[in-house]
């Protein structure tokens, strides 16, 4: 059994298509100007129906995190950092913080997006710590 894959309708697919191109896509509401994630058929802020896809900057901060010490299945290798990332555009998403010792992760730490292969056809966003002096 492999890692769990996102599956769903056309909105999910458009998001996955973005990930394959190295784009972290959000919806932007042309009615109220807010950004939203996860993608929906309506704006969850103003109920408007005019939503366009935009590419997020990929920068954000760790809103919270945990180090999973017992993996959910053999397809995941513990320890791994599950985090809630608040993007600079506003929305929060769940992800992994990668390429660091789990002990280095802190709440509020600045992060930036990277993409990791989840299957032959799917890549998903993960985040790396932005270290001082590195852009």
């Amino acid at each position: 059994m492999g890692r769990i894959q996102p599956q769903g309708g056309s909105l999910v697919q458009k998001w996955i298509d973005g990930c394959r191109l190295g784009e972290l896509r959000l919806q932007h509401c042309s009615g109220c100007g807010c950004f939203q994630f996860y993608p929906r058929i309506m704006c969850a802020t103003c109920s408007g129906r005019k939503l366009e896809w935009v590419v997020a900057s990929g920068r954000g901060r760790v809103r919270s995190f945990t180090v999973v010490r017992r993996a959910i299945s053999p397809a995941y290798e513990a320890p791994y950092v599950v985090a809630l990332i608040e993007l600079e555009e506003g929305p929060t998403l769940m992800s992994h913080v990668v390429d660091c010792a789990p002990e280095e992760v802190r709440v509020d730490a600045p992060v930036r997006v990277a993409f990791e292969r989840w299957s032959e056809t799917v890549s998903l966003p993960v985040f790396e710590l932005v270290r001082a002096g590195v852009r």
Binding site: G8, R63, T66, R69, S73, V82, M94, L124
Partner: protein
């Protein structure tokens, strides 16, 4: 609107099955056993039930669970459904059942919930249960475990308010101290903060002893109108306050990680009952993981926001404290068969308010607050129960 429910219904029967590791009984059998025991406690026969509410079982799921239990019992209620709001199911069901009684949909409602998470799940069912929590597209792929979701809440609270792992550990210690006074509890060996902090990490900062048990067991109550309640064998326990709050389902969509919809749920319950937090003689707070109790203490007004850690070390929630919490031992030490978990907080509260709770009786208990949540601090429900309808 729910003001009209104050003092209108009462619990007249309550019972638990054996809990803990009960391999000889299926989830269905535990549910029926709980009903039979609750009917015996109420002193009525099965044909007096005209309303039946259950929750589905993970070990023996059924498409129409309540109907299947009614069929097993060979009763034909006119009000019958199975609810699903995770851990919050029990008390939101009580809200619905009370409304059904007040509006005449049913006269005598049995609420029964049971499961056999410990003995009845196959490995595949257990895996599926864990991996099916979380948003299927945007959370599940990252492999969060159930403790991991609650760890995200704990970590955020620590960062925002300086709460420490020791504070969470105090909750596990207090629940165990209560359980030590409860002969039916699954875990009764005393614990220390050091024991909790020495147990293995599951999802930082949560350790094994911050996590609730995995159990078999069931419980049931009999609910009827306040007028009819006076004719039963035991003194009625009245529903005085009730409230709900539903803020999200998936943790990544939570408006706040550290303040929950227990605020709205509690506010509605206090408003219905006309009582304040300080007037409660005990509280049963949902404790699937220790941080939930700390957040609930704050959000239900037992201490200020961010002061939960200090409250736990300076005032405490163990036996003999000003507000004993989880007097039966809670999900952490009494038992936790999944969605039915809060049923045991309900039956325990009935016994506390009947003054029949034995060694763990809270002296002179007149009022108790019960709070449950389902999802990941998503779906909240609060009850205030009392010995008097006034």
């Amino acid at each position: 609107m729910s003001t009209s429910l104050r003092g209108k219904v009462a619990i007249v029967g309550a019972a638990d099955t054996q809990v803990g590791i009960v391999p000889d009984a299926s989830a269905t059998e535990l549910c029926v056993e709980a009903i039979m025991l609750a009917l015996l406690d109420a002193g009525i026969g099965k044909h007096e039930i005209d309303g039946l509410v259950t929750c589905n079982s993970m070990a023996q799921p059924m498409l129409y669970h309540a109907e299947a239990i009614a069929e097993y019992l060979q009763i034909a209620p006119r009000y019958c459904f199975a609810a699903g709001a995770g851990g919050g199911t029990t008390f939101s069901v009580l809200h619905h059942a009370a409304s059904a009684i007040v509006t005449g949909m049913a006269q005598t409602v049995v609420i029964a919930m049971a499961d056999s998470l410990r003995s009845g799940l196959t490995r595949d069912q257990a895996m599926l249960m864990q991996s099916s929590t979380g948003h299927p597209q945007y959370e599940q792929p990252y492999g969060p475990t159930v403790p991991a979701y609650y760890a995200l809440i704990a970590q955020a609270h620590m960062a925002e308010y300086g709460t420490r792992a020791e504070h969470f550990a105090e909750i596990a210690v207090a629940c165990r101290a209560h359980a030590a006074r409860n002969p039916t509890a699954q875990m009764r060996e005393p614990l220390t903060v050091e024991d909790v902090l020495a147990s293995r990490l599951i999802a930082d900062p949560l350790r094994l002893l911050d996590c609730s048990l995995v159990s078999d067991g069931g419980a049931a109550i009999v609910l009827t109108s306040a007028e009819r309640a006076r004719d039963f064998a035991h003194p009625p326990v009245y529903l005085l306050g009730i409230g709900e709050g539903h803020s999200h389902e998936h943790i990544s969509q939570a408006r706040s990680l550290t303040t929950s919809a227990a605020v709205e749920s509690g506010r509605a319950a206090y408003a219905t009952a006309g009582f304040r937090p300080a007037e409660m003689d005990f509280a049963q707070l949902y404790d699937c993981f220790t941080p939930t109790v700390l957040v609930e203490l704050e959000d239900l007004g037992f201490c200020g926001k961010g002061e939960g850690g200090d409250y736990l070390t300076s005032v405490g929630i163990g036996p003999g404290s000003s507000l004993p919490v989880n007097t039966h031992g809670g999900l952490l030490s009494h038992c936790h068969p999944g969605n039915p978990g809060s049923m045991f907080a309900l039956t325990e509260s009935v016994w506390q308010l009947r003054h029949t709770a034995g060694e763990r009786q809270v002296a002179g208990a007149e009022l108790g607050l019960l709070h449950a949540q389902g999802g990941i601090m998503s779906s909240h429900s609060t009850l205030i129960l009392g010995r008097s309808a006034d």
